[in-house]
Amino acid sequence: MRILIADDEPVSLRMLQKTLRRAGYEVTAVRDGRAAIEELCCSDGPRLALLDWMMPEFDGPAVCREVRRRRGERHVHLVLLTSRSSKQDVVIGLESGADDYLIKPFDPDELKARLHTGLRILQLEDNLVEVREAMLYKATHDALTSLLNRGTIVELLAHELSRTRREDGCTIAVLGDLDHFKLVNDTHGHLVGDEVLREVARRLLSSVRSYDFVGRYGGEEFLLVLNNCDAKKSLKRAEEIRTAVCGSPIVTSQGPLVITASIGAIASRGRIPETVEDFLCEVDRALYTAKSAGRNCCRIAGAEV
């Protein structure tokens, strides 16, 4: 675990450094408050700190206040270590944002025990962040395919359309639907259907650039949001995606299955709709046109193909 120690008094600094290294900490030592703030406010800075009160530039409480103000997301466990021992000082120190207060000269066992308390708090925070991130992932992704779920992909489309409007760019939305997918489920069972959906998701992801988005829009429907595209290439991109899905049979536990897809696409350039729903309505109509045209083909909204 990394720890920052800030103390302008070299003997005290050295003693702390040696004690903490012996206890297994990776120590960063600084001699003034400004350097302490810079270290602690780095995104990958230490999350545990021992701060002297009286230091040049910023004193210990000022460091606490500044770190609390600037470093929002992750907690930094701040311990003031000072020879100021009055009750009033302890109150001022803790009120400034310190998590703990130790009086010099320190006892090494007590110091280590207090730091263990800090580590427990940081570990608890790490666990909570991990759980929150897992929940966020579940809330935004489809459990079967691990693609973005409908709510998230639509939200991203709305965001991209709004950005496109500002920057005079072009976003292409591609809505794909697997042809006769119900037949796969009815003939081979839902587990095979799931295998197909997972493989289609993988193929879709490999057919787009890292900054494009792919989501599961419905049962066997997929929505892709392609950023910074040339509107004239909408059909070409849609065809590439269709080929990626249908180019070769999908190998399942019941054997290889030939899967095709119908695709509707729409480019935002020259047709900024009022709402994302309007945009989706248009791409849905293009998909319907592709279905009506015999499936396993692409149609562009507004284009006479």
């Binding site: 003997v11 050295r14 003693m15 009286m54 010099k104 000269p105 320190f106 006892d107 090494p108």
Partner: protein, 132 residues
């Protein structure tokens, strides 16, 4: 009892008898987790650091800057306490308190006592460091 402690610690800290008159060596040894090399290194650093800090305190008092004198006395108190030099640390603490309340007369009286103690202590530190 005190002599017993001194002689006991002196076995662990070579050349530690003189300095043990000023420093609670058993307390300091415990705080450096019985690392004699570190203890010697700390005294060498302390020897280098002390004159400048003393001069800063004297300067602040001569200028009549009691705010600065408070800070300098506080630093000296911390340094001395850190080295388990308890009597000298308590003298520095009285200077800090007197300076904080603006009692210049008390500051000067305590400074004289502090200087006497520190002079003797510095000699012990110099001897100790020279012996290692």
């Amino acid at each position: 009892m005190r002599i017993e402690v001194v002689s006991e610690v002196s076995k662990v800290v070579p050349n530690g008898v003189l300095i043990a008159r000023f420093v609670d060596l058993s307390d300091l040894l415990a705080r450096v987790e019985n690392d004699c090399e570190l203890l010697i290194e700390l005294f060498a650093m302390f020897k280098e650091e002390l004159p400048a800090r003393r001069a800063a305190l004297h300067n602040a008092i001569q200028l009549g800057d009691l705010h600065l004198a408070t800070a300098e006395a506080h630093t000296l108190k911390g340094m001395l306490a850190n080295m388990s030099t308890k009597h000298a640390a308590s003298l520095a603490a009285t200077i800090e308190t007197a300076a904080r309340v603006g009692d210049m007369a008390a500051v000067n009286v305590m400074l004289a006592a502090f200087d006497t103690e520190i002079e003797a202590f510095s000699k012990a530190v110099n001897e100790f460091v020279a012996g290692h």
